[in-house]
Structure formats: C-alpha cells, structure tokens
C-alpha cells in the first residue's frame, strides 16, 4: 500500500552533456552524464524549482520508490512529497547524483569514452565548485533560470552555500543544514583515515580494481564504520546500544557488543553498494571546500556578493558539523546584512539528525518553505 503523502513511483532520467566541463583542478571533463529525478510539476514560468544537493553517500534518488516492492524510499523521502515540508504540490524538486558518484552520473565506475574502460583512477578529482557548475548545466538543460531554493545537508549544505556564491542571480533561497564553511583539521583527519583504509586495501590496485575483478571491500567497510561513529553523538550511541551484548562476553574478537554488530552491518552494506573511488573523491571535495580561502580566510568577504535569502540550521549534538560552524556562516551573512534566519535544533542524533523526521526540525523547514514565493522574481 502506498504511504500517505508519498510522491509514489518515480523514475530516474539521464542528461548527457557534450560540451566539456572545466574543473577547478585545471583538468576538464570532455563530456558527462548526470542522472537525476524530479518530483512535482515545473510551473509555467519555471520559477518553482528546488534542487537537493546530496551529502557524501547520497544520490539522485531522494524521494519515492522505483516500484511498490522497494524496501526503502529515497533518502530524504520524509521531507519531500505532497503536503510534506517540501511540498511537491507547490515545488518542482530536482535530485541528482553528483559527478564522480557511483549511481549513474559520470564517475570512476563509468566508462571512459577515450578508453572504453572504467575511468577508475583516471577520473578527475572534482570540487564542490565543479559540482555546482555541473548542476547549473542541468538547470540550463531543464530550462530553469532561477531556483526557488537550493537545499542541502552536510556536504550538500556546502553545495547550497556555493550556489549562492557562484550563481547569486540563480538562487532565491538557500537552506543550509548541518554544514560548515570548511572542514576543521579534526574533520579532515577522519576523512584521511577513511581514505587510508581504502587506499591501503590490497585490492585497491591504485584505484583500478575494476580491471582485476575485485573491490577494496575491507577498506571501504572500515571507512564507513568510522564515518558512522562520527555521524552519531556519544549520547545517541549510548542510548541505541550502550554496552549491550549480543549474547555473553566470549573473550574473543568476534561481534560481542550490539554496537559492533551495528557498525559491521553498516560497513558491509555500504561496501556492497558503494564505490571506493567515489568515496575517496567525495571526502576530498569536502576537504578542499573553503570559499574564504581566496579572501585570506575572511568568510564575510567571500559572501559579499550573495543575494539569496538564507535559512541556516544546525543540530545541538552534531559534533562533526557543530552549531559553531553554522554560526560562522550566519555571522558572515549578518556582516553583509543579508536576509538570514538561524535555527539551532535540539536533537540527540548527532550529524545524522538532518535526515531524521524530528517534528520541530520539520516544522521549521515547512514554515520556511511555505513562505517562499513560487512566482519568479517575487521572493518574499
């Protein structure tokens, strides 16, 4: 049976771009594909479009199901649908898989037309800036000049921020959730450990494991286990698992504690469906993003030309993207006298909270989004 307010059955589409995309690294992608999904209807003046930027392991399947029998809907289905906080009766919502991804957009797993083999290690390293440029190309493809809103959590929030910097005239509202204007050394350190786990896996083969018919499962699994620790708060882990044992203490190294069982399950699941080269590239994009860098670290100067209206939102127990980091974005916007509101949501779930259907969190998004005018150029 279809869930009430679900967007229902959805299908992905592919847009092919034959003009090269110049990358921040200096390289360029000669041609590329972006896989995307849309929900709701684009209005006559094409002014009700909202783009969802995904985080580290996300993709274009944001809401709905491909068939009734799917076990799970898209990754942000609790937010998007008819009468949900991001109401598809009003908005035309676009989800896409970022370049370098492993869900259908051009990336290390896709075939390099120059060699007819998977790109593997040869696929360039993309940045948040590159992603946003490619997303702008997708908007051009869809005939959309200006977004009603760009929404993203975590790494997706960085993309939302970048949208307002790179394309101020193309964004009316930016919802930046559980994000930061750059990563701290500690945050980057977690990424480095994750990458080392992958790169030192004997089956990594310098990133060209496809040719060997293997994948660096062990490395990817450990990378994901580490990630999961940082996405949860100490309290949330304590509440979820505590020191609970699966059975009894056995004086060995197999799974004995519930927490271990959870981490191994998450690691195995992820290693079976995600690409290690993509993981490396996504974490690098996180590390590299720093819009204030060309302005000697002055974020206020970096945001001087933004014109969008902002909702910045953080979660109290999120230590990987702490409220203090979100407040840096808010301060830079206040310094520039921009229209901004900031919500600090009391939540126990740590960084993961941004994907949870917490009632107050969703009430904030619903209230903010319902005030967005969907008529072009008449933003409230």
């Amino acid at each position: 049976m279809q869930e009430i307010n679900s967007i229902g059955i959805v299908a992905p589409q592919i847009a092919h771009f034959s003009a090269p995309l110049k990358l921040k690294s200096g390289e360029s992608l000669p041609q590329f594909d972006l896989v995307y999904e849309t929900y709701g209807t684009l209005n006559a003046d094409k002014s009700n479009a909202v783009i969802i930027c995904h985080a580290l392991s996300g993709n274009h399947h944001v809401a709905g199901k491909y068939q009734e029998s799917d076990k799970y809907p898209g990754w942000w289905d609790n937010l998007i649908g008819p009468n949900k906080p991001l109401d598809t009766n009003r908005f035309f919502v676009i989800g896409l898989n970022n370049l370098g991804g492993c869900h259908g957009s051009s990336g290390p797993v896709s075939i390099n037309p120059a060699t007819n083999k998977p790109w593997g290690s040869a696929f360039p390293i993309l940045t948040v800036e590159d992603w946003v440029n490619s997303q702008a190309r997708l908007l051009d493809h869809l005939g959309i000049t200006q977004l009603a809103a760009v929404i993203g959590g975590s790494l997706g929030g960085m993309q939302a921020l970048q949208w307002t910097i790179a394309y101020p005239e193309r964004v009316r509202h930016a919802l930046i959730i559980a994000a930061a204007p750059n990563l701290t050394a500690q945050n980057m350190a977690f990424n480095e450990v994750a990458r080392q786990a992958i790169i030192t896996d004997p089956e990594f083969h310098g990133g060209d494991y496809y040719a060997h018919g293997v994948v660096p499962r062990r490395g990817l699994r450990i990378a994901r286990m580490l990630g999961h620790i940082t996405y949860l708060s100490d309290d949330a882990m304590g509440e979820k698992f505590g020191r609970k044992l699966k059975d009894t203490i056995k004086y060995g190294f197999d799974v004995e504690f519930e927490m271990e069982s959870y981490l191994r399950y998450q690691g195995d699941k992820f290693a079976g469906e995600f690409d290690a080269n993509t993981y490396l590239r996504m974490t690098r994009a996180l590390d590299y993003y720093d819009p204030a860098l060309p302005f000697n670290g002055d974020l206020t100067a970096a945001l001087k030309n933004v014109t969008a209206q902002f909702l910045v939102l953080s979660f109290t127990s999120d230590w990987r993207f702490s409220p203090a980091r979100s407040r840096e974005i808010v301060k830079a916007l206040l310094d520039n006298e921009r229209t901004v509101s900031y919500a600090e949501v009391t939540a126990a779930h740590g960084h993961d909270a941004f994907l949870m259907p917490d009632a107050h969190y969703h009430a904030i998004l619903r209230t903010y989004l319902s005030n967005i005018d969907t008529g072009c150029g008449h933003a409230k």
Binding site: K331, T339, V340, S341, E344, T367
Partner: protein, 205 residues
Amino acid sequence: MQNNVKITNSINEFRQDFAIIANWVKFGSKVLDLGCANGELLQFLRESLEVKGYGVEKDDANLLACLQNGTNVIQMDLEDGLSGFEDQSFNTVILSQTLQAMHNTEEIVLEMLRVGQEIIVTFPNFGYWRNRAQITAGHMPVSKALPYQWYDTPNVHLCTINDFDEFCKNHNIDILERRVITDGKEVSFLPNLLGSLAMYRLKAK
C-alpha cells in the same frame, strides 16, 4: 527625533511601549531586537519604518512564529553574549522587558553598547508604588507588569529606575532619553514611584 509613527489601536492596546520605541528608531535603519519573542515589535518596525530588522530568540515556538511572519531570527541564548555580531554593526539594539530576566545582566548591556550605536532598554520599574505597597503588605509584587508568583518567576534581576540610573552612571552610559509609562500614559512626576514601565535610550559615553 520624531517619526510620528501612527499607532494602530490593536497595537496600542497591548504594547504602549512600541510607540515610543518606534519614535526612537530611525527610518530605514538596522535594528537588532534581543529576545524578540514572536517578532511582533520587529514586524511593527518593519511595517512602519522599513527597518532592516533581526531578532534574537532562544525559544523554539517563538522561532517558528518569527519564520512564519517573515522576521529574520537568530536562535541563540542571550546569556552567552552577542559574539556573532560585529562592533557598532546596528543602528539600534533593543532589549524590551527582558533585562530583569537575564542572569548576565551587566554583560548584556555592555554587549548591546558594543554592537549598537544606540540601545533601547525597557523594564518593569520595581519601585512603582503598587509594588512597594504589596511588599509593605508583606508580599512579593504580582501585577500586570510582573505577572509571576515568587516561585515561578523568570525575573531574577529586578531593579528600580533609580537603580538603573545609577547603573548607567557607574558604567559610563549616556542616557539620551528616558520615558516612563503607567497604564499607557506617560509619567513625568515622581517617575520612580509612579511609573510602571521604564524605557531608556542609551549610548556609550
């Protein structure tokens, strides 16, 4: 400094102080309202004076109300100071009937003076004769301005007009203007005895 703001009856009935505040705020200026509640003062100043307004509010329900009526709201606890705001970055910073509920009372006033070129502070005058009468009768005052019982009041730093005048003097704060109100009418005679609500426009000396 007269804006001659027209006060609608509905607002006049429940917040007389809005009219005075509106006359202290310049047209089109940048205003920060600390403890902005549901944003009604900022909404009023936006509509009457086209101010660029921001509110600071801690409470979740008030935050939602602000988002609902389109008030820029920053969720934070005033007890932590105003570290997210640059020196002298606002024309006016307002603390309306919140001073008495602050723990870091001294700090917030100094922070306001740092962030605002001018500040507006309003508070219920504890020296008002009705309060004195209740204490003389042996009870903590309970009134429209102080609607709490001693055991459930958020008010921790109540003061009189004389106390606040002295505070300003000791902290090198220039009192640009002081207005005192009782039941919607201005009081000029014996304000510390006859005034219920004290309103100050201040700046650093």
